[in-house]
């Protein structure tokens, strides 16, 4: 059967602009057009652990994994309780999330320049772009529904991972090893408190 052109999906152009050797077309704004964006939905409070069950917590603007008994986890709730903000994605690539934590001020995890840091901002309600340094795609590991991977929306193929650096286990952004990489897998536990 031949493909039929759907009339509803056509866009009318009403103008042109020539900027920097590029010709831009201005579309007609008939409310059917939506810029690509991330739109914030309800946040979820969670505790993130790596596969060795070490808990992720924020310490002086860096993210560290440490073994922590439940009681300590609860006591340090402000540093261990991460807020997973789910975003609506205009091109569905998986569950888009921003990870933030409120210890003093609200800070959000950023992978800018492939370095993990905490930005002193609150996750915005809407981001007018398809890539962002604070947005990660949370997907489950195939066959292991309880384990999650976080891929950066800004750097494709780069995942949040736990890496040992001397005595510390730090949260970093790295390219996933094709031969099997368990350092990019985490468990996300909904916070009971």
């Amino acid at each position: 059967m031949a493909a039929e052109i759907d009339d509803c999906n056509c866009i009318n152009f009403v103008g042109m602009k020539f900027i920097n050797n590029t010709l831009y077309f201005i579309p007609e704004n008939d409310e059917n057009l939506e810029s690509d964006y991330f739109g914030r939905l309800e946040p979820k409070f969670s505790i993130i652990r790596n596969l060795n069950n070490q808990v992720l917590f924020m310490d002086r603007r860096t993210a560290i994994f440490e073994d922590m008994p439940d009681k300590d986890c609860k006591d340090n709730a402000l540093q261990t309780r991460f807020i997973i903000n789910i975003y609506k994605d205009s091109c569905a690539r998986g569950m888009a999330v921003a990870i933030s934590v409120k210890y003093g001020e609200m800070t959000t995890l950023s992978c800018k320049n492939k370095i993990i840091s905490f930005k002193e901002i609150s996750p915005p309600d809407s981001i007018n772009d398809t890539k962002s340094d604070i947005i990660f795609f949370q997907r489950s590991v195939p066959g292991h529904d309880d384990k999650m991977q976080f891929e950066s929306s800004l750097y494709e193929g780069y995942f949040l991972a736990c890496e040992r650096e001397r005595d510390l286990y730090k949260l970093i952004l790295k390219k996933k090893d094709e031969n099997g990489d368990k350092s990019v897998m985490f468990t996300v536990e909904s916070d009971r408190y």
Binding site: V141, G143, E178, N179
Partner: protein
């Protein structure tokens, strides 16, 4: 010329081949044991010795760390781009292995894959880098491949060459070539995954703790088998796939969801059924279309099912049913989509319905038509209400005039000519209407009894008393309204009649609008109200003169209902004279018969002066 060219080419080629001294290559021996039961693959790796990492000096000498069998290869080239050659067992000539050499041999990077064992597979395979410098003559690997056919008679349950690992669990990969060994100790096994050596794994079977999706791939297990003369490496290849566990759910029909579908008769129709099946290792999905008649059910031959989407956990399969033309009998049938897997089955049936649009249109038209019809009927009825009532009256035998002890059917009141006024044309008309036309039509034609003050009342009585008594004796009061009437003394008659009508239910008043007039302010309140409320018939001059005009029809409508027999008799005027005399004898008020001949007059009457009592005007003979 051509021959020379070919000679030259072969020389050059031979030169190149000759440059390859295969005796210097690192040689090893591989054994491929296959049974005819399943598709068995084989791989050869071109594991050229890896170039050393960073050096401070130029690498031209052999490093002591490398064993004597490992010949150095320069590090300036890409070791994944290699060229394979085959020296078949039979001949001496080296052949290059290219893409078109054989259907069963595929080269991927530095791996040579054999998809199936063949007759001429055995031989020596040499591999060396494609781009090389002259000093790397010895950079090559020679693999002597031996192929042996061994039907597995000694084993009931050998490991397969295709194995499945359950994701999330702990599973093992079994080396097929060792599975049937009944030896006491299993030898050391070298495992490779996708060409890479797994140095941690040494045993058979290879245990995978926590299966993940990256464990999927091509695994190679090697072990050494030595006999007296030489040692051979026995190699087997296993294709490993990571799967989830089998579903425990029945298939799910995603489409169609609704039970009915609107169609157009005579047009072709395609209904698509999509079902989602959970993962099963032994996957035998069934998706079919059935047609269900009231008495029987049969399967439809439909185009083949196709898989729309296949993921780790489930697969969506679609199958269409095509009807070339929707017929009336199709509307009575049910179309059933049936999906089944090893757990169970689900069905979804569809009923075809004709598009409501056509029916709706008919309904709409019908309703509109009915409404219009009703409106027209209503208008017609309203227009001819009077005629209908009259028609009804002629066929009913009710007579309201019986038993009410009244003498006259109607009393006519009109503007009398006053001596103070000059003769006006209108006054003439009014009087003529009252004294001539009314009696002629109502009495003669229709047989009513009228009472005219001048004619039927004996003179000499008090005017007001006479009026009141006449009105009391009449069933109806007819008042001819005009400016003269309203502004003159005769309006007293109207006033009296209104008062009497309020008391007497059987007295009804009829107003005749002779011509336009203005209501004076001095009129009594009651009269004003009466003028507004009472039934009014408009006199339209000459048009209303003939007895068949609308005026007279309306008059009859308001006149009392009489017995149809008498009516008809009167209308026929069989014995007009008799009726006249009869009536006259009944009148009380008139002591003496007053001008009977008047009834017969058709000529316009001259104005009479009421005050001149006893005056007997002679009219023309009737």
């Amino acid at each position: 010329m051509l021959y020379l060219g070919w000679m030259f080419l072969s020389l050059v080629a031979g030169e190149r081949m000759k440059g390859l001294n295969i005796s210097d290559c690192y040689t090893r021996k591989l054994l491929w044991i296959y049974s005819s039961r399943s598709d068995e693959e084989f791989v050869l790796f071109c594991d050229l010795p890896e170039p050393q990492k960073s050096h401070f000096y130029h690498r031209s000498q052999r490093l002591p760390t490398q064993g004597p069998e490992h010949l150095p290869c320069g590090d300036s080239k890409d070791l994944s781009d290699v060229q394979w050659y085959l020296q078949p067992k039979s001949g001496d000539r080296l052949e290059e292995i290219t893409e078109s050499s054989s259907r069963h041999i595929i080269q991927e990077k530095n791996t040579l894959s054999f998809l199936a064992p063949e007759m001429n597979t055995a031989g020596s395979y040499i591999c060396r880098p494609r781009i090389r410098s002259s000093q790397d003559v010895a950079c090559c690997v020679k693999t002597v491949l031996e192929v042996k056919f061994q039907p597995n008679a000694s084993c009931e349950n050998p490991a397969l060459h295709k194995q499945y690992l359950l994701l999330g669990s702990t599973n093992s990969i079994y080396c097929p070539s060792l599975s049937c060994q009944s030896g006491v100790q299993s030898p050391e096994v070298t495992w490779y995954q996708n060409g890479k050596l797994l140095s941690q794994q040494r045993s058979n079977p290879m245990v995978v703790f926590g299966v993940y999706d990256f464990h999927q791939g091509t695994y190679v297990c090697d072990y050494t088998q030595s006999d007296n003369t030489s040692s051979w490496t026995v190699r087997a290849v296993v294709q490993v796939k990571t799967i989830v566990k089998d579903t425990n759910l029945k298939p799910d029909i995603l489409d169609p969801i609704q039970d009915t579908l609107e169609v157009e008769l005579g047009k072709p129709l395609t209904i698509s059924c999509r079902a989602r099946f959970g993962f099963e290792r032994v996957f035998k999905p069934v998706i079919r279309w059935y047609i269900k008649d009231p008495d029987r059910e049969w399967e439809v031959s439909a185009p083949e099912a196709k898989s729309i989407k296949s993921t780790l956990k489930d697969e969506i399969i679609e199958r269409d049913i095509i009807l070339e033309e929707v017929t009336q009998s199709d509307l009575r049938r049910k179309f059933v989509c049936f999906a089944q897997n090893s757990i169970g089955n689900t069905t979804q049936s569809i009923q075809l319905k004709e598009k409501k649009g056509v029916l709706f249109l008919y309904l709409l038209l019908g309703t509109v038509g009915a409404l219009v019809g009703m409106l027209a009927a209503g208008a017609l009825l309203y227009r001819h209400w009077i005629e209908i009532v009259l028609l009804y009256r002629t066929y009913q035998s009710k007579d309201e005039t019986l038993g009410d002890k009244k003498e006259f059917d109607a009393f006519i009141s009109y503007a009398k000519w006053s001596s103070f006024e000059s003769e006006a044309a209108s006054s003439l008309g009014e009087e003529h209407l009252a004294l001539n036309l009314f009696p002629e039509v109502l009495e003669n034609t229709y047989g009513y009894t009228l009472c005219l003050l001048e004619r039927d009342v004996a003179p000499g009585g008090v005017y007001t008393e006479d009026i009141v008594s006449i009105i009391k004796k009449s069933r109806r009061g007819i008042f001819i309204l005009s400016p003269n009437y309203i502004n003159g003394p005769s309006v007293f008659e109207l006033q009296a009649a209104v008062n009497l009508a309020l008391a007497d239910q059987t007295l009804k008043l009829i107003l005749i609008k002779f011509c336009c007039f203005q209501e004076p302010e001095s009129l009594p309140h009651l009269v004003k109200k009466a003028l507004r409320v009472l039934p009014t018939i408009t006199w339209r001059g000459l048009k209303s003169v003939p007895p068949s005009s609308r005026f007279w029809t309306e008059m009859r409508y308001h006149m009392p209902v009489k017995n149809s027999k008498g009516f008809t008799w009167n209308q026929l005027r069989i014995i007009p004279g008799v009726s006249c005399w009869e009536r006259l004898s009944k009148t009380e008020a008139t002591g003496r018969s007053s001008q009977p001949s008047k009834r017969w007059s058709h000529l316009p009457s001259s104005p009479r002066d009421r005050d001149i009592a006893g005056q007997n005007t002679q009219h023309g003979s009737g």
